[in-house]
């Protein structure tokens, strides 16, 4: 008697829980991130999370380009780097406020994307990938050879942070408190930026424009036969993707970058180009939420394994390989598809019961 009752309660509960749409799950996840600072983590943890959000945004922007339109770019660091540099340069040497330099560098990134997209998109497949790979390296060399305050190995040292220390000290906080609050404010700013941008990216990816982009990925000729100006849509994907990669770069320049320098190696190096690739494939390509999950998981894991410094890279790579072999479509995509399948199965079961 009690057993059947409990069973019924459990099954209704399971139905409710499994009915939670992925959208709500994502929202709850963001809510959780909002409340993390309540646990009073040290500024180091906050910083790690902040960088994870920046890379999540960066990876999501890559996913819009590659997961939707299928134009594989291995030079996405170009946009990250251009925005980080431009924003740091304008705000440090020309005294522009950060609130103006980031949108400006985002727009500049979109412009750069269109300018390099016009010649680049004439080549296809692996050739396009190789061409895109070259651009950040070229810019890297150019910046490396520039004289010191702007270029060189060190890049632009100490660009202004989002919230200057004085802002908090004037309001009666001590120095150490102000330093912590700086990080905390950046944490929230970047989290909200990620939240808003990922919603926009997701909506673009699932709009009719997104559908057209997938059609280009599937069969370019058939897409043309449907009357679609393929080049225009590819450029659009490039530009929107660059816009958000630029936002990630700008956010980086005035948070993590501002604690040391916006250096060419960090923002234009090969690793920066490869981060979004690894994170997106780990989480699930073409989903927008995949790269966010991927960036969050991989970046925090990477930091966690600092306890075993020598083995860190080995463990990290092993985990990636195991996950990709086990769930080739990506972890987040696998989970969401599983949830959808379960929901469908239950719906069919219920229909059968009614009959």
């Amino acid at each position: 008697m009690v057993g059947t009752f409990l069973k019924r309660v459990y099954s209704s509960f399971a139905t409710k829980v499994l009915d939670v749409p992925p959208r709500l799950l994502a929202f709850l996840f963001f809510l959780l991130l909002l409340f993390i600072p309540m646990a009073k983590p040290d500024s180091y943890t906050l910083l790690i999370l902040t960088i994870a959000y920046i890379y999540a945004l960066f990876a999501a922007s890559w996913d819009l380009l590659v997961g939707r339109s299928g134009q594989v770019s291995l030079g996405h660091a170009l946009f990250f780097g251009v925005a980080a540099y431009l924003s740091a340069f304008l705000s440090k040497f020309h005294g522009f406020p950060i609130w103006a330099t980031i949108p400006l560098s985002m727009l500049f990134c979109a412009l750069v994307a269109v300018l390099i997209g016009v010649p680049c998109l004439r080549v296809k497949g692996p050739y396009l990938t190789l061409v895109t790979l070259a651009f950040p390296l070229i810019l890297f060399v150019i910046i490396f050879s520039l004289p010191s305050p702007v270029g060189g190995e060190g890049g632009i040292a100490l660009p202004p942070r989002f919230f200057p220390r004085e802002f908090f000290m004037e309001r009666g906080f001590s120095l150490s408190e102000a330093v912590y609050l700086q990080t905390l404010a950046e944490y929230y700013l970047i989290l909200v930026s990620l939240f808003v941008s990922s919603i926009i990216l997701y909506r673009v990816a699932n709009s009719k424009t997104g559908i057209v982009l997938v059609s280009i990925l599937d069969d370019e000729s058939a897409s043309k036969a449907c009357g679609i100006n393929v080049t225009k849509y590819k450029l659009l994907a490039f530009a929107v993707s660059a816009l958000f990669a630029g936002l990630a770069g700008g956010l980086y320049a005035h948070s993590f970058g501002a604690q040391g320098a916006v250096a060419p190696e960090a923002v234009l190096g090969l690793t920066t180009s490869f981060y979004p690739v690894i994170m997106t494939i780990f989480g699930g390509i073409g989903t927008i939420y995949g790269p966010i999950v991927g960036a969050f998981t991989l970046w925090t894991l990477m930091e966690f394994f600092r306890v075993a410094a020598e083995l860190r890279a080995l463990i990290y790579i092993s985990i990636i390989i195991i996950f990709i072999v086990k769930w080739p479509t990506g972890v987040a995509k696998f989970v969401v598809e599983k949830l959808n399948d379960l929901a469908k199965e239950r719906e069919i079961d219920e229909r059968k019961k009614k009959k």
Binding site: K208, S215, D218, D219, A222, K224, A225
Partner: protein, 244 residues
Amino acid sequence: MPLLEVENLTKRFGGLTAVNNVSFHVDEGDIVGLIGPNGAGKTTLFNLITGFLEPDSGTVRFKSEDITGLGPHKIVNKGIARTFQVVRPFRHLPAIANVIVACVSPRASKKLEWLKSPERKALDMLELVGLSEMMFESAGNLAHGDLKRLEMARALATEPDLLLLDEPFSGLNPIETDYLTKSIQRLHLDGYTMVIVEHKLHELMKLVRRVIVLHYGEKIAEGSPKEISLNKKVIEVYMGKGAT
């Protein structure tokens, strides 16, 4: 005033002349068959008309406007739609999204009825070809016959004035063939102008009013189905010398 005029069209691939000095025209409301043995240049001719290939010489005029050498998407937006010999669905997209792609093209969105969304129109197109029950099925899971119909829906969604069908009957079973024959007849009654490339002469001859025969890239005959079936040259090409 012919809808489509093809004049002295020539295309060479290296030493091979795939289409050699072909001229013909298609009138409004006409339904024309294009036949010939394998490698006769039928698909190449389609590719030249629709802009997927650029001709070496000759002109293509559509509604007395020169469209030679325009890009494929521009030609579609002028009003020429085509289907492919081998089906080319967007495999990652559900059936309805396949058609939505065509519905958001500039020409289709301009011709969209007032208060009608592209989604609604895509569904109407699927209904027209009898695929509306499969609307959420991923195109990668559809059977060959369904994909042929999907291709048709996609072409129709671009609001064409001229429809080029490349082997619409290939790989269809008798029931599907019958269904497609009826669909094409209905489209013809609705006023669509069509050019059909087909190997299944039995089905084609019932449908068309005029037949053009290509052989090694050259036009060797043109006329009504009856004339063509009695034409010595055509029989020679299909059956070999001495068949007559």
